[in-house]
């Protein structure tokens, strides 16, 4: 990839306009120099086009999509500007804690710890870099390139850290890939101890699960993602719509369609490949309901 400076050479007037926008908002925290701003843009462009050779139009589109106001603030905080830090605190600190509370499902202690650690890292790294004054300063703000809002980036970091902490602490539970086989075995084993006298119960459950897994794998990624958000992550339709960039009514419609399609695929697989009759397929469903009880009414009323 050509150097960032070279890439930005042809966009001087565009950079001027972006700088004016950034300067307008930067007046709230003492301003930002053009050099600082251009350096931030260079870092951003380098990160974006690290593995490719963009055209001039690509760079122009990318520059226009940047949240330059937030980039200016992050850049000023990175340079340990006192007024920028004050502005950052007044604007983002309370949001950071609110987001942490939401992420930690209102566990106050966990939320405070999560937010404090990020806030401390942002604040401490930025300031210690300027105090040391040796070598290149490394700040968490180096990783913010203006492709998103600063608030979203902060929440993404919180989310990532929270999930990784949970996963690390639950390493022995069923989050890892190796657990999948164990769960399947457990299902099969428990089936043999079920109250039903049908010796094929375990087989039916296994067939149904495998057919469902195959049908899920064959879904378009977006449909699969939507289902996963709804059933596994238990998000609301509004949240799903927000993630996928669609209205919640659209998300609901697509979910219904996907569920119907999934069921059709599963039953087709059970009939055609496994030679099960309609009665046997009904049995599969009944055994599945016993094995994995799902209170649909409760789930819908809590979520939607």
């Amino acid at each position: 990839m050509p150097g960032a400076e070279k890439l930005l050479e042809a966009h001087a007037s565009r950079i001027d306009k972006l700088f004016q926008r950034a300067l307008a908002s930067a007046s709230a925290f003492g301003g930002i120099s053009r050099t600082q701003f251009v350096n931030a843009l260079q870092r951003s462009v380098t990160s974006r086009f690290r593995d490719s050779t963009p055209t001039r139009a690509d760079v122009a589109t990318y520059l226009d999509s940047l949240y330059v106001e937030d980039l200016a603030l992050a850049s000023a905080c990175r340079e340990a500007s006192e007024s920028a830090w004050e502005h950052f605190v007044s604007r983002f600190r309370s949001d950071l804690y609110s987001a942490a509370r939401a992420i930690c499902r209102h566990d106050e202690a966990a939320a405070r710890e999560l937010a404090d650690s990020l806030y401390g890292e942002l604040f401490g790294a930025g300031r210690s870099g300027s105090e040391q004054g040796t070598g290149e300063r490394r700040s968490l703000f180096d990783y913010f390139h203006g492709r998103s809002k600063l608030s979203t980036w902060l929440r993404a970091i919180l989310s990532q850290r929270h999930v990784d902490t949970i996963r690390a602490s639950k390493r022995t539970e069923s989050l890892d890939d190796e657990q999948t086989e164990q769960e399947v075995s457990a299902i099969r084993a428990s089936a043999s101890g079920g109250s039903e006298s049908d010796p094929d119960r375990a087989r039916y459950l296994s067939l149904l699960q495998l057919a469902l897994t195959a049908a899920l794998g064959a879904l378009p990624p977006r449909d699969r993602l939507r289902l996963a958000y709804y059933y596994v992550q238990e998000l609301t339709l509004a949240q799903i719509g927000r993630l996928l960039g669609e209205h919640e009514a659209t998300a609901s419609r697509h979910l219904d369609r996907t569920r119907r399609e999934l069921r059709k695929q599963v039953e087709r697989a059970l009939r055609a490949e496994k030679q099960l009759s309609d009665a046997q397929i009904r049995l599969c469903y009944e055994y599945a309901m016993e094995e994995w009880p799902f209170d649909l009414t409760r789930a819908l009323s809590e979520r939607d």
Partner: protein
């Protein structure tokens, strides 16, 4: 349980278990926080989004991170919880309220139409003429000088107001016939005042634009053709008719037509009319003494009606917020136009979320991408690149790049937003249809009600 529901319940139960889900191969690297954030803000390219979603659909870790990100979204977190149903919840069941409500509305319209709009007594126009004669006098001329009808004159007012632009609209609520009639009467009073001022200006050698009929808001209502004709004719007569001898010394020569105090800084335009903003010219028609007697009056009015109709074909100006013109209520749905301080940059908001932008004072328009399909009710453009607009159902949009990108801002209310006043991209004050005022200083991250 119905047989049909069993398979769905069974599938739902299975889908909740991670074991049924195909997983990503361990070689794939999860996107970093910056990419997740850009994905969430829809800043990635279409190709990047597809690539990410392919990974996300099979990666539990990424799904969990995105779910946490969605939960922490202020707009979604701040959404009020499911409203508590009232004690007698069955009373608020839409399944019976909707048809009953529709029947009641239809009955009200039918009764109103029969009792109010059945013609009786003198023709509508003469009735309006009679009412106009008893209309209240024009406010002090000095106050009229404060405001300008034409756009160039507005800049000083805008500068005084802190370069803040206000748009005009009223909530798009359906009005009953009786409300329309009341508005008509008010409009007649305003029109008569404006006509008197217009006459005064003519006497002084200044010609005003056609906005003198009063502010324009509200929604068009259907009207029988016969009454429409009579009313239109009466309106033209009302617009053109001089009210009283010219107000001496009221308007300086060359001043723009100034209908009333607090002239709006925004404009509402008819859908089908030419939106070019006309500037009052200084052509001096021959001054005429106000005609006396009905016959002379009508003769003078006939003369003026031609000019009045011509003027009426131009842009109509909103002169005072919230004072609708009955004629406007009979035309197509009104659009919302918001003007930036430089008077050249305009945004026009139409139905179903339509947004248009002009850089040349309305001569040409370009459509901009709107993220919503709601109707807009009020807007404010503190600069050429920043514009806020509020609409029905709590819709609140903001642009900071001249409209190239419009983002939805979480609003403090789910009801209609009937007034928006912004001083920059962070500070804005809203008034909801419930009458409450809300302020933010951080672009909607936090709201304070007052």
């Amino acid at each position: 349980m119905a047989d049909e529901q069993k398979p769905d319940k069974a599938m739902a139960g299975m889908l909740k278990h991670k074991s049924v889900w195909p997983l990503a191969s361990t070689g794939e690297v999860c996107p970093d926080a910056a990419t997740l954030a850009a994905y969430f803000d829809r800043s990635l390219t279409a190709a990047e989004i597809s690539q990410c979603e392919l990974h996300f659909s099979a990666c539990l870790r990424c799904q969990e991170q995105l779910a946490a990100l969605a939960r922490s979204e202020p707009a979604l977190v701040a959404t009020p919880a499911v409203e508590k149903k009232p004690m007698i919840s069955w009373l608020w069941d839409w399944r019976w309220m909707a048809p009953v409500g529709a029947a009641v509305v239809a009955l009200v319209f039918f009764v109103s139409y029969k009792t109010i709009y059945v013609p009786s007594g003198p023709p509508r126009g003469e009735e309006l003429m009679a009412k106009r004669k008893t209309a209240t006098p024009v406010p002090a001329a000095a106050e009229q000088q404060k405001s300008a009808v034409s756009i160039p004159g507005r800049s000083e007012t805008a500068a005084d107001a802190g370069a803040e632009t206000k748009s005009l609209s009223v909530p798009r609520k359906e009005k009953t016939r009786s409300e329309l009639d009341e508005l008509q009467r008010k409009n007649v009073a305003v029109a008569s005042e404006s006509a008197r001022v217009a006459q005064t200006l003519k006497d002084k050698g200044v010609r005003s634009t056609a906005g003198a009929s009063g502010s324009v808001t509200g929604r068009a209502m259907p009207k029988p053709a016969e009454e429409e004709k009579q009313f239109a004719a009466a309106e033209n007569r009302v617009i053109a008719q001089p009210m009283a001898p010219a107000v001496s010394g009221a308007i300086p020569p060359g001043a723009q037509a100034a209908p009333a105090q607090g002239a709006a800084e925004g404009i509402l335009g008819a859908q089908k009319q030419d939106r070019a903003i006309t500037v009052a010219d200084t052509k001096a028609p021959a001054a005429t003494a106000p005609p006396e007697g009905k016959a002379q009056e009508q003769a003078a009015l006939k003369k003026e009606s031609a000019a009045g109709r011509q003027d009426a074909a131009g842009a109509r100006f909103a002169l005072e917020a919230g004072r609708p013109s009955a004629s406007k209520l009979r035309t197509a749905p009104v659009e919302l136009i918001v003007m930036a301080p430089n008077s050249k940059v305009l945004w026009r908001f139409g139905s179903a979320g339509r947004i248009e932008h002009s850089r040349d004072a309305g001569k040409t328009w370009e459509t901009q991408i709107s993220p919503v399909q709601e109707s807009f009710l009020s807007g404010s453009a503190p600069s050429e690149s920043i514009c806020w607009v509020g609409g029905s159902n709590g819709v609140l949009l903001r642009t900071t790049d001249g409209g190239e990108n419009w983002e939805r801002i979480p609003a403090p209310t789910k009801g209609d937003i009937i007034s928006v006043k912004a001083s920059d991209q962070l500070n804005v004050t809203l008034i909801g249809a419930d009458g409450r005022t809300y302020e933010t200083r951080d672009a909607g991250a936090h709201w304070r009600a007052r």
